[in-house]
Symmetry: C2
Subunit: 212 residues, 2 copies
Amino acid sequence: MIRVMIADDHQLFAEGLSQALDILPDTRVVGVVDSGPALETALETQPAEVSIVDIEMPGGDGIDTISGLGRRTNAIVVSMYASDEQKERAFRAGAKGFFSKGVPLVTLAAAIRAVADGRDLISLDDTARDELLEEYGQARLDPGAASLTEREKEILQLLAVGVSATDELADRLYISQKTVKNHLASIFQKLAVSDRTQAAIEAIRLGIARPN
Amino acid sequence: MIRVMIADDHQLFAEGLSQALDILPDTRVVGVVDSGPALETALETQPAEVSIVDIEMPGGDGIDTISGLGRRTNAIVVSMYASDEQKERAFRAGAKGFFSKGVPLVTLAAAIRAVADGRDLISLDDTARDELLEEYGQARLDPGAASLTEREKEILQLLAVGVSATDELADRLYISQKTVKNHLASIFQKLAVSDRTQAAIEAIRLGIARPN
DNA sequence: TCGGTGATGGGCCTCAAGGCCCAAATGGTC
DNA sequence: GACCATTTGGGCCTTGAGGCCCATCACCGA
């Protein structure tokens, strides 16, 4: 689980991004602050592997803050109006990544995984950077969840939308109730849970299935 | 369920906000577009009670788009750098709300509920607007969920974090297993579900309990 | 003071859920 | 051809989950 701190004075952006990252199975937002100094303070009591820092913030430029953070966290700078000059400054301040707010969420998520893994994105050219991001595109699931088979994931998806009874699951999948129970037993073992309620929650948490 | 369309060219913002609104029990994001013309097109095939429109978008000002939408949707304008002049223009274009991106998410959520309910926020002064938003601060839950008692919510919260066995629930709450089962039976009826798996999913969906 | 509601519990009954072990067919890989 | 993972299915057994009806006590508002 990668702990992420967000520093941005636009609450709508910060809270939205926070929710979005919390939904990912391998990232957890541990704090949201609205200024550079607040970021420094927050990191003292709450460590975070990665910090998302906005450039445009009141009470001091976000980039100035990064220089003082040292190796306490890996900073990724995001900017509304990204320019080469800003990127250069972010690089000199020690940021590990630099993105416009126009990039898709999956790109930022991949970048978070990459810098949390010790990689440096900011010194790469665009093609090398995109290749690296491709490499980190998928959330690394728990060992158990990673070994789920297609059929097992299918059952988990149904579970997570409320198809919980054995006979309903069997009907939906055109297999016997016994086979459903066998798959479930295998799922329980892989996810280290003991019943379908816990399995459904795990499926939602891991992002294998979406509720609603 | 209030259907919401988001028009913003900054993907990180739009996707983050989208996830955040989807988590709320009474709002559903049905589309995300990145320009004014795309918003018009999207609304033709996918109706939405409320549209969140950014002012600053490429290929035409977001406010110009709103005038052409008429009563197809209720527009709420959000701006990075909110000014009185922008607010005035949004008002004349027929927007029902105007906010800076610096407002908290709960404020925007309340505004969405208010305008979906036919209210007009933009013509109110600040105090009257805040009072109205206060009124719409809480998500209106389904009739069943609204009648849940404190104890029932407590049980749902435990369920949603994986405490699914009757004996564990009884231990945590210092009551007998029989009482747990009685409460659960009551919960099933109120939420119109048939087992604890579905109840846990509903609890998460309704925002009564948080997973993770 | 009286009713309504919520929280606590009991009894009883039925069937589904989960545990355990096993087997056959399939499809890919070494 | 042999091996392995996946999917499908069986049998058997124990216990827990859920359905239904009822009782007591505390609290609160009319």
